[in-house]
C-alpha cells in the first residue's frame, strides 16, 4: 500500500531576476501514517519550500514538476478549490513563530473552533466542547478559561501549543511542522516534542518535521532526510543517518554542534564549523553542490551530478566517493581546511 504522502523527484523552480531557478531539485521521500519524518538542512536548503509546495502555497510564477501524492491524490495538479478543502482539513501546518500564526485580537476559542465549524460542520457548542478537549490534549491549563483569552496573555511555549491545537482542530492526517521549537526554550521544546510523539501514537498523525536542529531530529524522527541546496544529500532511518552518517555534509552538520558526550574532556574541543556558506538560489555550483565546501571532494565532484543511490536498507546517499568510515567516527581528513 502506498504511504500517506509520497514525494517523488520533486522539482520546484522559483522566479528570480535571472529567470527560473530550482529551490528544490529532485527530492523524494515518504511519510506514512503515524510516522515522523524529518527534513534537515541549513537555511536556504529548500526545506520550507518543500512544505509550501505540499500546501500549494508557492509564490506566484513558481513551477513544479515530479510528483507529490497525498492519499493517492496528486497535489501538484490540484485546483485552487480542492487545495483549499485539503489545507487545514487534511494537511495542516505549524510554523516557527507562534505569535504570527495566531491572530492577536481574536480570542483563542474563535481561532480553534473556526476550522472545526468550517471543515467539519460542527455546531457552536459541539466545536466548543471539542476545543476544550483539544486544548487539554496540548496541556493548556484551564482550557475553559483559555478559550476566552487572547494569544498575548500566554507565554511563547503556550502560544506554540495553542498554534498546534489550531492546526489539529480539523483532525488533519498530516502535520507539517516547520521549525516548531526553534524559538522556544529547551524545557518548552521538550514538551512540544513529547506532544508530537504522543499525537502520532494516539491519533496516527503523520508528521513532517522541518528543522536545522539535529538534536530535535534525533529525538522524534523515525526517518531523516538531509537537504543541501535543494537536493537530497542523504536519507534513511534516524539511527543510521545520525549515528553513522555517510554524506560529508551530514557529518559536517554534526561536527558543528557541541558534543555533550565530550563533557568530561577537560580540554574542550573547539566547534568545527563547515567552511564557507551555502550557495544562494541560482548560484548552485555544478556537479555536487556541496563540493566547494567538502574536505573529501575529488575532481569528479565538480562535474558529475551525484544521484541518490541506496547504500543500505532504506538509506539513500548522493555521494559517489562515499569517503566516510562505517563506524560513525568523525574523520579528520589530511589538509582539511581550518
Amino acid at each position: 500500500m502506498e504511504p500517506l504522502l509520497r514525494v517523488e523527484d520533486l522539482r520546484v523552480e522559483l522566479p528570480t531576476r535571472r529567470g527560473l531557478r530550482p529551490a528544490v531539485d529532485g527530492l523524494s521521500f515518504d511519510v506514512a501514517e503515524g510516522e515522523i519524518v524529518g527534513i534537515a538542512g541549513e537555511s536556504g536548503s529548500g526545506k520550507t519550500m518543500t512544505a509550501m509546495t505540499l500546501l500549494g502555497l508557492l509564490p506566484h510564477g513558481a513551477r513544479t514538476s515530479g510528483s507529490a501524492r497525498f492519499d493517492g491524490r496528486e497535489l501538484l495538479t490540484l485546483g485552487r478549490r480542492q487545495l483549499r478543502d485539503l489545507r487545514g482539513r487534511q494537511i495542516a501546518m505549524v510554523s516557527q513563530d507562534p505569535s504570527t500564526a495566531l491572530h492577536p485580537i481574536l480570542p483563542v476559542g474563535t481561532q480553534v473552533t473556526e476550522h472545526m465549524r468550517h471543515h467539519l460542520g460542527l455546531s457552536k457548542s459541539a466545536a466548543r466542547a471539542e476545543a476544550v478537549e483539544l486544548l487539554a490534549t496540548v496541556r493548556i491549563p484551564d482550557p475553559e478559561r483559555a478559550l476566552g483569552a487572547y494569544p498575548g496573555q500566554f507565554s511563547g511555549g503556550m502560544r506554540q501549543r495553542i498554534a498546534i491545537a489550531v492546526a489539529l482542530a480539523a483532525r488533519p492526517r498530516l502535520l507539517l511542522a516547520d521549525e516548531p521549537t526553534t524559538a522556544l526554550d529547551v524545557t518548552v521544546q521538550a514538551g512540544i516534542l513529547r506532544l508530537l510523539d504522543r499525537l502520532r501514537r494516539e491519533r496516527g498523525l503523520a508528521v513532517l518535521v522541518i528543522t536545522h536542529d539535529l538534536g530535535v531530529m534525533s529525538a522524534v524522527a523515525d526517518r531523516v532526510a538531509v537537504m543541501y541546496a535543494g537536493r537530497l544529500a542523504e536519507s534513511g532511518p534516524r539511527a543510521q543517518v545520525l549515528a553513522t552518517p555517510r554524506h560529508p555534509y551530514t557529518r559536517g552538520l554534526l561536527d558543528a554542534l557541541p558534543h555533550p558526550e565530550a563533557a568530561d574532556d577537560p580540554a574542550r574541543v573547539a566547534l568545527r564549523p563547515i567552511p564557507g556558506s551555502p550557495p544562494s538560489l541560482g548560484d548552485v555550483p555544478a556537479g555536487c553542490p556541496f563540493h566547494p565546501r567538502c574536505a573529501f571532494a575529488v575532481p569528479a565532484c565538480a562535474t558529475d551530478r551525484p544521484e541518490p543511490v541506496p547504500v543500505a536498507a532504506g538509506h539513500l546517499l548522493a555521494c559517489p566517493p562515499d569517503p566516510l568510515p562505517r563506524d560513525g567516527a568523525a574523520p579528520v581528513p589530511e589538509g582539511a581546511p581550518a
Binding site: 541549513e42 521538550a190 549515528a243 574542550r268
Partner: protein, 329 residues
C-alpha cells in the same frame, strides 16, 4: 573532578556583582527581574549565564555594564562602581567594559562603513582617525574578515560576518571585560560555531573576561569556564562548566540539562519540565522553583534558599544542602 578544572580565583577579578537587583515598572507595580545576584568575572575567564526566557539573564547582563539602573546591590569594574549610563558621557574608566548585542542587524548603523564603525572604539579612546583606520583593518583580520572589508557597508555581509564585525567593534575599545548577550542565537548553525570559537579564542589569547548570556546551554558548555544558572531572577547554581553540565545539583539545572536533545540518532525524547515559568511580578513563596520541582519538600514553600556549597559549587536549594542529601550526592 579533582584538580582537572582550572582555578579561576587565581586571576584578578574584573567584574564583581554583589546583591544586584533590577526592577522594571509595570502598570504602576514594580517587577523585580533580577533579585539579589552575586557573580564575578575574572581575567581570561568565560562565565556563561543561562536560563529560560524571562529569567532576568539579559537584565543582569545589561546592569553589569551600566545599561540598566540597579535597584539594589552593586556592580564594580576593577573595584570602581559601574555607573548607569545617562545623558552625560560614560566615564572613561568604563571604556574597557564593553558589550556585544544579540542582533548585529540592528546594532550596526547601515549607513556607515564597516571601517568607520569599528574605528569608533579607537577614536573615542582618544586615538586619531588614521590610527582608527589602521586598527580597524587589523581587528577585522583578527575576527577572520579581510582588511578590505573596511570600505564595505553592513548590508554586504551575512549575519555571521556582521556579528564578527560587531565583535571587532567591541574589541576596538581594547576591553578588559565584555558582556555578550545571546551573540550567536540569531545565526545559522555553522556560523554559530565560527563565532563561538572566535569568542573563546579571544578570551584565551588576550586574557579578556567574558560574561556570555545565552539560553543555549550546549553552546555555553562548549565555551564557558564557569556557568551560572538563573531562574526567575535568582542564580540557583554556579560552578565550573564540567560540574554544572555533568553533575548538576539544583533540580532546575538538572531539568535544563535533561531537556537538551542529543543528536546521536538514539531517538530518546528529552525529559519534560511540567508547568510554566511563573509571573515575576508575583513570584512563588519560599524557593521560587518549588511549584515545578520534582524533589520539593514542605520547607521549600516557606524557606527562601541562599546559595550554599554543595559538591564543590554554589547551589541555592535547601533539599540539596541538607546533610542527608549530601551523603547521597
Amino acid at each position: 573532578m579533582t584538580g582537572a578544572t582550572p582555578v579561576p580565583a587565581a586571576e584578578p577579578t574584573l567584574l564583581e556583582l554583589t546583591g544586584v537587583a533590577v526592577e522594571y515598572g509595570r502598570r504602576g507595580a514594580r517587577v523585580r527581574a533580577v533579585d539579589g545576584v552575586d557573580l564575578t568575572v575574572a581575567a581570561g575567564e568565560v562565565v556563561g549565564l543561562v536560563g529560560e526566557s524571562g529569567c532576568g539573564k539579559s537584565s543582569l547582563g545589561r546592569a553589569a555594564v551600566g545599561l540598566e539602573p540597579l535597584a539594589a546591590g552593586s556592580a564594580r569594574f576593577l573595584g570602581e562602581p559601574v555607573t548607569t549610563i545617562g545623558r552625560g558621557a560614560r566615564p572613561g574608566r568604563l571604556r574597557r567594559l564593553q558589550m556585544v548585542f544579540q542582533d548585529p542587524y540592528s546594532s550596526l548603523n547601515p549607513r556607515r562603513t564597516v571601517g568607520d564603525l569599528v574605528a569608533d572604539g579607537v577614536t573615542l579612546g582618544g586615538g586619531s582617525r588614521a590610527e582608527g583606520r589602521t586598527r580597524a583593518a587589523a581587528l577585522l583580520e583578527r575576527v577572520g574578515l579581510p582588511a578590505s572589508a573596511t570600505g564595505a557597508y553592513p548590508h554586504e555581509f551575512s549575519g555571521g560576518q556582521l556579528q564578527r564585525i560587531a565583535i571587532a567593534r567591541t574589541l576596538a575599545a581594547d576591553p578588559l571585560c565584555f558582556v555578550a548577550d545571546e551573540p550567536i542565537s540569531a545565526l545559522d548553525a555553522s556560523a554559530q560555531a565560527t563565532v563561538a570559537n572566535l569568542l573563546s579564542g579571544l578570551v584565551r589569547d588576550s586574557g579578556i573576561g567574558l560574561l556570555l548570556v545565552s539560553h543555549d546551554l550546549s553552546v555555553v558548555r562548549q565555551v564557558a569556564d564557569r556557568v551560572a544558572v538563573m531562574y526567575l531572577g535568582r542564580v540557583v547554581e554556579v560552578g565550573t562548566t564540567e560540574q554544572v553540565w555533568s553533575r548538576p545539583q539544583h533540580p532546575y539545572t538538572q531539568a535544563l540539562v535533561a531537556a537538551i536533545p542529543r543528536p546521536d540518532g538514539g531517538g530518546v525524547l528529552p525529559a519534560d519540565l511540567p508547568g510554566d515559568v511563573p509571573d515575576p511580578a508575583d513570584p512563588p513563596s519560599g524557593c521560587r522553583f518549588h511549584p515545578r520541582c520534582p524533589i520539593v519538600e514542605d520547607s521549600c514553600r516557606t524557606t527562601d534558599p541562599r546559595p550554599e556549597t554543595v559538591a564543590g559549587r554554589q547551589v541555592a536549594c535547601v533539599v540539596r544542602a541538607a546533610p542527608a542529601a549530601r551523603a547521597d550526592a
